[in-house]
Amino acid sequence: MAVVEQVALRSGVRPAAAPAAFWTVTRLRVAAIVVIFALWEIAGSSGFFYSGVLPSSLLIFKAFVGLLLSASFWFHAGVTGFEVAAAFVIGISTGALTGLILGANRYTGAVFEPFLHYLAPTPKIVFLPILLILFGVGVGSKISLGAISCFFPMALSVAAGVRQVNPVYLRVGRTFNLTRLQTVRMIYLPALIPPIASGLRIGLGISIVGCLMSEIKLSRAGLGFSAMEYYRIFDIPSMLAVLVFIFVCAAAGNVVIDRYVRLPGPQTARA
């Protein structure tokens, strides 16, 4: 009784405090962005840091425009874009295939999945020295590191997805005499879209990290290389502009995945 009364009391008090509704989600987000920019500017001009370490956002924007207008930037962006795309395609497809095999066959899964499970959260960058020996300083070592990075989350995500396909869907399929191919196309595939989407999302981020970290370590081309060149000549605005460009691309990639790799229907409250 006391609980009910207190709850009623509390919820009764709430409407009186209604003016708090000034903060909407959009206003709060805009405010956060403004605060972040302000803090950046204040920190940059405060004298706490060496001058030029936190350049004004205006300078970064100028450098960004300068990059977009330079041909060499687009060359480096093309190299990195190719590396990431190749790494992503290779890692994701082999990962998805491995996940399907491990998920579909219980014994194979039990034997090999612990390898993936335990290797997944290890730092992949340590493989780079081996990859440099195997594939040289060119795009090969970058692509292979990116591919190895995104292979693991995709494989684990798909394997778990296959096992978690609701068994009642499979029974429904059997009662309607679905062929094996129809079962895959009409039941497994749609049921696997959420795990595939999450594998793609995580995979995209870490394949970008894989490719760019190996570019930063040792390379002659690519955005990682070019950011490091700017760092060496202490052109911090340009270096940050390159990083901003990378983040924008990564975010755009995520938006594309969210938008196109999903099930029809409302996106909440999925069993």
Binding site: A2, V25, V53, I125, V126, V209
Partner: protein
């Protein structure tokens, strides 16, 4: 029929046995191929040579010190990240509008290539441990924030009502009910955060060739100390796997003793 499949299943060894047989076979083939000269011992030294060079790593290369340093940095990062992350997670849970505005951002940052911000920290802090720890913090925060919020959001309403019925103050309500109820989920976040911190710490160490296991591997590679380099890589992998395994066991133990 079912009896036949039953005996059929018996004939297969348990998965763990097969797993180790496969691993052993892999090493055997590798050793044989390397000795017979099918693959260059420079590119792929035989496992025996790699295992032998562990001694060199321990005695001459300061493997233990490098390991301790890397893990000290990772734990420092996870400690700082937990303090900030739990506070942020609590805020996102408590201030509903903030939760709706920013949880998506945090989730997006979890899959964003944040580690690439390290040059920024490099110019702020210089080439030292502070940069490395800062990158560890950046890496471990998203899962800790998200899991803290998730844990607090999912506390069963009936538990909160019990607290209210006893007239607990908001502060006591948090420490006596919400926090303990959310603790398993928060621990899970901290654990994932720690793993992400290790990944970032080793990565940045390797990139800027400063301190710990990352630098060790970079140095060995630069000196073309190939078996040693492989041993170092193997060591990092083994340590991460052991670490993952142990924290996983702690987590299940914590959950079962609840």
């Amino acid at each position: 029929m079912s009896t036949i499949t039953h005996t059929g299943a018996l004939r297969r060894p348990p998965p763990i046995v097969t797993r180790f047989l496969v691993l052993a076979a892999l090493f055997a083939v590798w050793e044989a191929a390397s000795r017979a000269g099918y693959v260059s011992a420079f590119i792929l030294p035989p496992p025996s040579a790699i295992f032998q060079s562990f001694e060199m790593l321990f005695v001459h290369e300061g493997l233990v010190a490098a390991f301790l340093r890397t893990f000290a940095e990772a734990f420092a990062a996870a400690g700082i990240g937990s303090l900030i992350g739990v506070a942020v997670g609590y805020t996102l849970h408590r201030v509903k509008i903030a939760g709706r505005a920013f949880t998506g951002w945090v989730a997006a940052s979890a899959s964003a290539p944040l580690v690439l911000l390290y040059p920024l920290f490099l110019v702020i802090f210089g080439r030292n441990s502070a940069t490395i720890v800062a990158m560890g913090v950046v890496g471990c925060m998203p899962p800790i924030i998200l899991k803290t919020k998730e844990g607090l959001d999912n506390v069963r309403p009936v538990l909160l009502n019990i607290g209210r019925s006893f007239g607990l103050t908001p502060w006591k309500q948090f420490w006596m009910i919400q926090f303990p109820a959310a603790l398993p989920t928060i621990f899970n976040g901290v654990r994932i955060g720690l793993l992400f911190a290790i990944i970032n710490v080793v990565g940045v160490e390797y990139l800027i060739v400063f301190g710990g296991l990352g630098q060790l591997i970079s140095d060995l590679g630069d000196r073309f100390e190939i078996p040693g380099m492989y041993a170092g890589i193997l060591f990092v992998i083994l340590v991460s796997v052991c670490f993952f395994f142990i924290t996983e066991k702690i987590e299940t133990w914590l959950l079962s003793s609840k």
